[in-house]
Symmetry: C2
Subunit: 210 residues, 2 copies
DNA sequence: CCAAAAATAGGTATTTCTACGTATTGTCTT
DNA sequence: AAGACAATACGTAGAAATACCTATTTTTGG
């Protein structure tokens, strides 16, 4: 499968996972030229060696995998990036598409899937977990309900724990306007006609708002 | 360090982590006689082989690591259990102490710490991460504020999105009583004197209520 | 057993959230 | 240019959450 020893740099702040990843890639015949437990060190190494592939954890101290990928793009490096993540979250996926992210896979994935991702990306392709999209469609109700920019802005402020009054002050609009937006949001999200249902929804769906 | 080849059974639903754990224990000179990706299979294997040690993920499909440990105790097995977890959460630690849990470590831990835990537990000792306790004191405000059972019950219902009226009906008490409890909870938790601050707190701290 | 703590209940007042109206202005698309 | 949609704003009203009181009964710990 891998006739030449492709070089790869990896990073994950969980040492056990990093070791597992290292061993697995070695088994695949790849040459792991660097294994780091934070994003910063990984970026430095990628700049130095410019390997064809880097596999990075999304959540890491110093720099996230996404930030490293962004910097790689800025620097014009040819290194392709596969992100590892625990959660199937939309917000990152959207950003990932805008960067030079070539793969995005869940850590729960079977090793076979990881192998497939590595092969695909090294051949110039992309690999995004299907499960990611499943999750998205279910979790992200926003695109379906097509909230307007203002509604979204207000929803985020509600999620941050701000009251109507505070939101009005912050956005330099009338409280009534905020009220109206709230009302519209509730309709669009099909929430119960119950007090604080919007607040509760916002608190529990913070992640999908960004 | 490990002159006899101690046997161990491991389980984690993240394949990469499972592989890393497997390799690491092999490096330590342990004999991994079973590696599973769910709690049920691990329990079966533990029953069959009764190894001196099992290292289990806390969060797994079918059965959690804690449930497996509980069953081991019920069955009177001599197998000692080390739990692996991503989060430093008190709720599990408290339960863990009541079972035959011999170790409890965070996945972020350095491999050296894991080695130490394995050595300690195989020698008959216990190993609980210090960072666990740090986290507890900060995250778990409940024990500090010493909420009464009723207050806790009401707090849970608030976290479930119930209104004062609903809580009163559900508990067969007056709305005023619920009001009073809410008021006391707010005082004990030192929340802002702001509308819905209790609701927002409850929504964001659901996990620490159980 | 006695004292402290907790659970129960009520009164009054304020603030906030929400529903359901209407109406004006601007922008974007066809 | 016309029509649709979005953002803005206002009014009225009711439900809910919270604050700040008091007071009685139960439970529990020393």
């Amino acid at each position: 499968m891998h006739k030449q020893r492709h070089q790869v740099i990896i990073a994950d702040d969980h040492p056990i996972l990093l070791k597992g990843l290292h061993e697995f890639l070695a088994d695949l015949g790849l040459e792991v030229i660097g294994a780091f437990h934070n994003g910063k060190d990984a970026l430095d190494a990628i700049q130095d060696s410019q390997p064809p592939l880097a596999i990075l954890d999304l959540e890491m101290p110093e720099m996230t995998g996404l930030e490293v990928a962004a910097d790689c793009k800025k620097l014009g490096l040819k290194t392709r990036v596969i992100l590892l993540t625990l959660h199937k979250e939309l917000k990152f996926y959207q950003q990932a598409k805008e960067l030079n992210i070539s793969g995005y896979i869940l850590k729960e994935f079977a090793l076979n899937d990881l192998r497939k991702a590595v092969d695909t990306v090294l051949s110039g392709g992309e690999f995004f977990s299907e499960k990611l999209f499943e999750g998205l469609k279910k979790e992200d109700c926003l695109s379906d309900h097509s909230l307007t920019p203002s509604e979204l802005k207000i929803l985020r402020l509600i999620a941050d724990g701000h009251s109507t009054k505070e939101i009005a002050e912050q956005l330099f609009i009338s409280e009534r306007t905020v009220d109206k937006h709230r009302s519209n949001i509730i309709s669009k999200l099909n929430l119960e006609k119950k007090h604080n249902s919007l607040l509760i929804w916002a608190q529990n769906n913070k992640e999908s708002l960004y």
